[in-house]
């Protein structure tokens, strides 16, 4: 599979492109004569391929997140983003409950979103360390703190434009910082200033006279154009005129280099103070404009200085004066110095339009830069930036979805709605075409489905699904239904999730599946337990029925022990469901009969009769069981010492016998497997007992 993803949740087709065709390598001898498909959990698709020589079963994960990030890291991000996401959702719901309005947005809402954004952002890569105070290798121009990722770059870009209201006033400078951090990422698709600097640094050790190398001057202007002042100043100080043996001979030249370095390091910036960055920082626009004008006039003056003519190193003169042109905002110089449109764009903010505000003019400027630096292949971050600048929420979402996958969409959507009522309406509006859900919900569902695909992440899918008011619980039910019940820990986890989200229906369904599974697999106790939990009376009745069928045709039956344990398992405190109540009574009766057998205690015999009467009076005692019960009780009916059954009791039993003879006439009557003379001996015993009882009373 190629690195870009299949159906990465991109429910938005961006163009009328023909669908992507992915090769499916199977290693079977062609031809493939049949194929079959089966969806597993989430976005996992099982395929079976049949050829004449063999068949193969393959598993295809239809969504892989950004290939730039390894799986284990992805899972860390997935787990790490749960808490900030859930916190933001709970804040949103408590806020809307408080304000009693459907839209929870008020002026401070963005602060909550910003906190969320910062927390998520920190998951995507560690925070940048402040510059270390140790003495650095003077030849190291470009430092690398950590590998930046496109995902983090995308996240920060969205944060800059949509969330961080505090820094709106210095938006261009935030973009300068953004490019400083992420320019290296663009190296994958085309030439960048960062890439050139890295290449140059590798060769630095071999270069004898640096100022004679044209690349040195080119790179100085490039780095200056995108505002990497510290790199420029550092590189200028590598100029040969600084060397002790040269200093006396090239005093004027060195003076010019140092002057330019000083001017550069005093560049006014409209931004808060930042440690380790060169330039003079202004928070107020008025102060900034004043200093900016002053600084520019200094440069103009320096450009006209007579010292340039006196300097005899022409290459140094040309190089330095080009730097002045950059700072004076010469469009041609900037265009020459930068490699692609975003770099050019940033240079415009720094030197041509430092006061630029308003997204519309920013968008126009971007279009102009794209025309000046046309490119054959666009980096995905550039596509995202264009979407943001065009203020097209749908394009931004589509870019996020297509290029960065469902994780980013599901989480970044919170940022997109942070500041804009319009985006809020667009994204939260319920759409018939989507089955009555909003775009926000759709993307959460898509992400949750991806989480469901993996055994290590499915447990966090419910958190996202619970934030989907329309279809979240429906998908959660399907997800839970597809979990295997064989493994107890998974089963318990499932039931816990059901309890948490009040999914009683699916919960009893799962418990029923577990009950039937255990029952059928010979774990009768566990089977009964889960069926009881599920309150599945029809299955429990059938189990009770099976117990009747398999137990106690006679007192001497050895199977008593077997099923006695089963009834124990059914538990006495559990809700008696239908036949189970009967079984408990039956067990009591059998036990008391056992005590009586062989003994002569009339008291025990009376207890046994008590159990018998309870059974015979109980409507839940199946009719077909009456005869075996009476047959088992023959010893009681024929009790030697005295009649144990009273007249009314004996009459009740005789009536039951009468009912039974009527039942025999009906269809479906099953004859209990008793000795042929059973009925007559019961009749005789009852009649005798009745006689004795009448006499007694």
């Amino acid at each position: 599979m190629p690195s870009d993803t299949v159906g990465n949740g991109a429910l938005v087709p961006l163009t009328g492109d023909p669908p992507a065709v992915y090769p499916l390598h199977h290693g079977l001898a062609p031809p493939i004569c049949r194929l079959s498909i089966s969806w597993s959990r989430g976005n996992t698709l099982h395929l079976s391929l049949f050829s004449s020589t063999a068949a193969k079963v393959v598993e295809v994960k239809l969504t892989s997140e950004d290939q730039e990030i390894p799986d284990a890291h992805w899972r860390r991000i997935a787990y790490g983003s749960v808490a900030p996401f859930a916190l933001l959702q709970s804040r949103r719901s408590s806020l809307s409950a408080l304000l009693k309005t459907p839209s929870p947005y008020h002026s401070d809402w963005w602060e909550n979103v910003l906190q969320y954004s910062k927390e998520i952002g920190s998951l995507l890569g560690g925070s940048k360390l402040p510059p270390s105070p140790i003495i650095e290798d003077s030849k190291t121009i470009v430092k690398r703190d950590e590998e930046p990722t496109s995902l983090k770059a995308a996240w920060e870009l969205i944060e800059i434009f949509y969330v961080d209201k505090q820094s709106q006033s210095w938006l261009p400078e935030r973009l300068v910082d953004w490019l400083t951090d992420y320019d290296s990422l663009f190296t994958s698709t085309h030439e960048t200033i960062h890439g050139k600097l890295v290449d140059f640094q590798k060769e630095l050790v071999n270069i004898q006279v640096i100022e004679d190398d044209s690349r040195y001057w080119e790179l100085l202007s490039s780095a200056l154009s995108v505002g990497w002042l510290d790199i420029v100043v550092k590189m200028l100080r590598l100029h040969g005129s600084y060397q002790l043996d040269q200093l006396s001979k090239r005093e004027l030249e060195n003076g010019l280099v140092e002057t330019v370095a000083t001017v550069i390091s005093k560049m006014p910036r409209l931004r808060p103070e930042s440690v380790g960055k060169l330039g003079e920082f202004y928070k107020s626009k008025a102060d900034f404009i004043k200093c900016w004008e002053k600084w520019r006039s200094q440069i103009t003056k320096l450009d006209c200085s007579p010292f340039w003519i006196q300097c005899d190193n022409q290459q140094t003169v040309d190089g330095l004066r080009n730097l002045l042109q950059i700072m004076l905002g010469n469009t041609d110089s900037l265009c020459m110095a930068t490699c692609f449109w975003i770099e050019l764009y940033i240079s415009h903010f720094l030197y041509i339009r430092p006061f630029t505000m308003g997204i519309e003019s920013m968008s126009n400027l971007a279009q102009k830069c794209i025309q000046l630096k046309p490119q054959s292949n666009t980096h995905r971050l550039a596509g995202l930036m264009v979407g943001i600048l065009e203020e097209n929420t749908e394009v931004v979402l589509a870019e996020c979805s297509r290029e960065f996958g469902p994780w980013l969409v599901a989480h970044a959507i919170e940022l997109l709605t942070a500041g804009s009522e319009q985006a809020e309406v667009l994204l939260h509006e319920e759409r018939y075409n989507l089955g009555g859900i909003s775009i926000v919900e759709l993307h959460r569902l898509v992400y949750a489905q991806i989480l469901s695909s993996h055994a290590l992440t499915w447990q966090i899918a419910p958190i996202y699904l619970s934030s989907c008011v329309k279809q979240g619980m429906g998908l959660l039910e399907n997800l839970l239904y597809r979990q295997s019940v064989q493994h107890n820990n998974v089963l318990l986890k499932n039931i816990e999730i059901c309890r948490l989200y009040e999914l009683d229906g699916i919960s009893s369904n799962i418990m029923k599946i577990a009950g039937v599974y255990h029952w059928k697999h010979g774990h009768k106790g566990a089977g009964v337990f889960w069926l009881q939990q599920a309150q599945d009376s029809s299955c429990l009745d059938r189990i009770a029925q099976q117990l009747f069928d398999s137990v106690g045709k006679s007192i001497s039956d050895e199977s008593f022990k077997q099923w006695e344990g089963m009834i124990e398992l059914l538990g006495s405190e559990s809700k008696p469901a239908g036949g189970l109540e009967f079984l408990h009574k039956y067990r009591d009766f059998k036990k008391s009969l056992q005590k009586v057998s062989g003994g002569k205690s009339t008291e025990l015999a009376r207890q046994a009769v008590g159990s018998l009467m309870l059974l015979m009076k109980n409507p839940s005692t199946p009719q077909r069981f009456w005869l075996p019960l009476l047959y088992d009780s023959l010893k009681l009916l024929n009790w030697k010492d005295c009649p144990i059954l009273g007249v009314s009791e004996t009459n009740l039993l005789l009536n039951k016998l009468q009912d039974l003879s009527l039942a025999k006439l009906r269809p479906y009557y099953t004859e209990p497997s008793l000795p042929p003379d059973a009925l007559s001996s019961i009749r005789l015993a009852l009649a005798t007992n009745l006689g004795r009882a009448i006499l007694d009373e």
């Binding site: 390598h25 079959s36 089966s38 295809v60 759409r431 075409n433 997800l479 019940v485």
Partner: protein, 325 residues
């Protein structure tokens, strides 16, 4: 991304995964059924746990019984015999696969069977080569041996229409899977036969009051009613105000919306929202993912295709897989 998880022998004719994707049943031309189990829920590696000859002749399809009724499969042979096999441990014996029921071919071959749960009992719909549809009901929830014929009818809207002896090549059945139980149970069936009245896919719903199955919708435009149906698939509904159904015929892949509220005749409103082309020739199989948002299909062109709807409700092919060695 594609990971091979199992190689099967050359006589293998069909496979089927259980609902949780942890057990795979495969069958072969000589009537052998094999079961493979994954070792633990997080791994996809499989090991063989059962292999035995269960039917005379070629098994062409395996269908798992819903998990509420145990671990069981129905195997359909090329001769049209259905054999129901179940994994049980009886009377302290070890776990075994045992045959519990066979549905013979006294009245035509069985072409397809599908299980559905309605009003707490398990139903099995079987489509026969003579165009008949039979619904069997399980009498005892713990015993897959005892089935009762609940209904028998033909896949026609007007029961009076007369036609000659039907001969069907294939049939496709799909249940509307529900977990709430508030709605009546319903399923969808379409035929590939020489009798045009039988072919078009129709939705059958159980009428509790009269204890019979009624056709409540026909998923074909008037001019397409005789078209032979290759495959049907009812999408899981996680909360849409309408049902989505896919029907494949030689004209292409149609996506239908089925309304939830019947009109005065008791019919459900239908609307064809897309007719898609992609597979050259016959469509073999269609499956919806668990959200009902993506449809996967396979067909005679040897491709696997994925279909989705965009934000505007326009259906399109999202991706395709081409097997290559």
């Amino acid at each position: 991304m594609a990971k091979e998880i199992l190689t099967l022998d050359n006589a293998t004719t069909c496979t089927s995964w259980n609902i949780s994707g942890t057990r795979l049943a495969s069958a072969s031309a000589d009537g052998t059924l094999s079961i493979f189990d994954s070792r633990d829920p997080s791994s996809s590696s499989l090991r063989s746990t059962f292999k035995s000859r269960v039917l005379e002749g070629n098994i062409v399809k395996i269908v798992w019984v819903p998990p509420e009724y145990g671990d069981a499969v129905a195997c359909i042979s090329a001769d049209g015999i259905v054999s129901l096999w179940e994994e049980v441990a009886e009377d302290s014996q070890s776990l075994q696969w045992k045959m519990c029921k066979s549905f013979g071919n006294s009245s035509g071959k069985v072409l397809d069977v599908q299980f559905g749960i309605s009003s707490t009992s398990l139903k099995m719909v079987a489509a026969y080569s003579d165009g008949n549809v039979r619904v069997f009901e399980l009498l005892d929830p713990l015993e897959l041996r005892n089935w009762q014929l609940q209904a028998e009818f033909q896949n026609v809207i007007e029961s009076v229409s007369a036609f000659g002896k039907a001969s069907c090549l294939s049939a496709s059945i799909s249940w509307n899977v529900q977990k709430g139980g508030s709605q009546e149970s319903s399923f969808l069936i379409g035929f590939n036969s020489n009798t045009s009245e039988l072919n078009s896919s129709k939705v059958w719903e159980f009428d509790q009051a009269h204890q019979r199955w009624l056709p409540v919708a026909e998923l074909a435009l008037p001019e397409d009613r005789g078209d032979q149906v290759y495959a049907v698939a009812w999408a899981p509904n996680i909360g849409r105000p309408y049902e989505i159904i896919a029907v494949a015929t030689h004209k292409g892949l149609a996506i239908w919306h089925l309304g939830l509220n019947p009109d005065h005749d008791g019919r459900l409103p239908v609307e064809r929202v897309a007719l898609l082309s992609g597979h050259q020739g016959m469509v073999w199989q269609m499956e919806w993912d668990m959200s009902g948002m993506t449809l996967a299909t396979t067909g005679q062109d040897g491709m696997v295709r994925l279909w989705q709807s965009n934000l505007n409700g326009v259906w399109h092919q999202q991706a395709a897989f081409e097997p290559t060695s």
